[in-house]
Symmetry: C2
Subunit: 406 residues, 2 copies
Amino acid sequence: MSLIVQKYGGTSVADAGRIRNVARRIAQVKDRGDRVVVVVSAMGDTTDDLIKLANQVAEKPDKRELDVLLSTGEVVASTLLTMALHSMGYTAISLSGAQAGIKTDAAYSRARITNIDPRRMLRELDNGNIVIVAGFQGVTDEMDITTLGRGGSDTTAVALAAGLDARVCERYTDTEGIYTADPRIVPEARRLNEISYEEMLEMATYGSKVIHPRAVELGEVFNVPILVASSFTENPGTLIHGEVSMEIRNKVRSIAHDLDVAKITVVGIPDRPGIAASIFVPLAEAGISVDTIVQNASIHKITDLTFTVAKSQLAAAMAVVEPIAGSIDARECIADARLGKVSVIGTGMQNAPGYAARMFSTLSEENINIQLITTSEIRITCIIDEAQVKDAVRALHRAFELDRGE
Amino acid sequence: MSLIVQKYGGTSVADAGRIRNVARRIAQVKDRGDRVVVVVSAMGDTTDDLIKLANQVAEKPDKRELDVLLSTGEVVASTLLTMALHSMGYTAISLSGAQAGIKTDAAYSRARITNIDPRRMLRELDNGNIVIVAGFQGVTDEMDITTLGRGGSDTTAVALAAGLDARVCERYTDTEGIYTADPRIVPEARRLNEISYEEMLEMATYGSKVIHPRAVELGEVFNVPILVASSFTENPGTLIHGEVSMEIRNKVRSIAHDLDVAKITVVGIPDRPGIAASIFVPLAEAGISVDTIVQNASIHKITDLTFTVAKSQLAAAMAVVEPIAGSIDARECIADARLGKVSVIGTGMQNAPGYAARMFSTLSEENINIQLITTSEIRITCIIDEAQVKDAVRALHRAFELDRGE
């Protein structure tokens, strides 16, 4: 008998029929003799609907109140799922984030989990209950409700798995797992049976929307294996964990991409200390999230600085940067909103320089011009023209033979 | 500066526009310099919608889970109202029933308030906040959420007014107050400026749906004046309190009626001890709520027993009573589903026997046959044919001169 944490996303509990389907899946695990804690998201579009309501009553809804409002969506889903289990003859109980002992700081709308007090959950498990926990939420020491921000329910599930010392955190959505590339672009893309935390983190940040990096990070820190699978099929999914076998590590694992890339280049900056700070501190204060940053080596004490942002933030970023460029005597600011990003990811690349060469030559053979290059230990990323991203993904998938079995 | 508790019903907060309207009303009280605690119901049909969802996932939704589910409706309304106040420049905070310190027993779906711990509310008031409390709910000592059942938000408001020693509990819905009769039946019916708890209780039980008797009882016990008024107009409403002036007490105050009356008569019962219990204990066990009970004096040790139930419960009641009637040697059971009830109410009737005579002669003049009569100290009720109820109300309203001013 082991303890398993499962998490079901909003599409998996979008209506009564799907809730009963999820209840049947949970019942199977219980029938196997395991102890089960389940984390649920709000049904379908509930969270968006609540946000709309809030914007109808106030131009700028108060964050504390918004958190309480949004937290009700997950509570509703948790009670309905519990009722469905009861009607199938299983003993179950729903717990809010507060009742489940999920303590957070008071940073409304993006609270961080500070501690898990598992006593109530363990008591309910000992009583034979399946425990259904409302995701995405916690409670401050003042007993005020908070929400965890983006990726919140995934984070709840991994944190509970860590706090309960669960064998695995199984995360179910409408996707079958992690693929060698986006199957909508590369039809022959394969589902990976396993992937390391590091690889998944690079994929999450570089284009994969399957699981939020915050949950993967937490899984890595507490060594919680995370299974990513579909709630609509019986396919085995992809296990994200730390003990990926040696041979599999020694390969490129997947091609990730991102079509939402805009670039700003500040041209002709006098190279002196403090220049980078003078640009990026005001951007951060304006709430603009900067992704890749590249600064070339300076020639004659003059350098160029390039960085990327989401397309939706390009105008705001230019408004911040242009006056600064003037004040630091840069020559000009150039914006480009029509870019994309393609990345080759795999822990196998760490000690093998041939991968970068193969990536660049593959893109060259496709007549794709590389505008920027950045790398991490297990990833090589090229910023290219938006219109060429899909061709690049397909070519790289072939070049690194990802269509062949593991 | 005094402390006022206000309560707004579901129709008053049914959409964003109405929520902003309620916020403006609250702001006026705050501008006057008073401290304000507001109790809200769930928006419009929210509670019914949640119940429908529950019935879609389970044939018989678990009561604990149903309470958690339903409690979210009032939480949503409380946060939206708080946001609306913020956007008007007022400091406000929403509290769930648990956060407001409303402790209850664990009788899910019909919990009783055991205690109010007002410390959090008083702290927020001291901080200058308008406090918005989610109605209809409380929390057990185990920190499990409960709901208070029918009339729940009214009860919350009166209980908070008692616990906070408020000057008045103002209860706003879409009705203007308490009338001398239902204005849909008697066009010349007048709104009463004030009414005693006892009179209101008789009216609530005997046909008025304006405020739940449970809240009125609580108001009487803790001597909390309750103002019943509309959130859509500036009319002064009706004050329910204990200090109604002597002269006003000495009158019939209103005509109440109820069209949902069915009657069962058990005919020819041998009059011996234990007969009544043998009928009414099984009815109670079957969850059937019996209203009026009349047993005539026995003649030759044979008596008839008549009682009324809601029309929807007539078939279930007959199924319980018919076998019992056989076993106690009664002659037969007769059911009649087409009845109504009309009542004359007023504390003035206590020491004045002429009122009953005037009621009976008025009905006689209208050719209305009286089937059953019951009385309390401040009420006379006649059960009559359903089709004659409206005529009876109009005739009695005229006969007792209720169209004239107080």
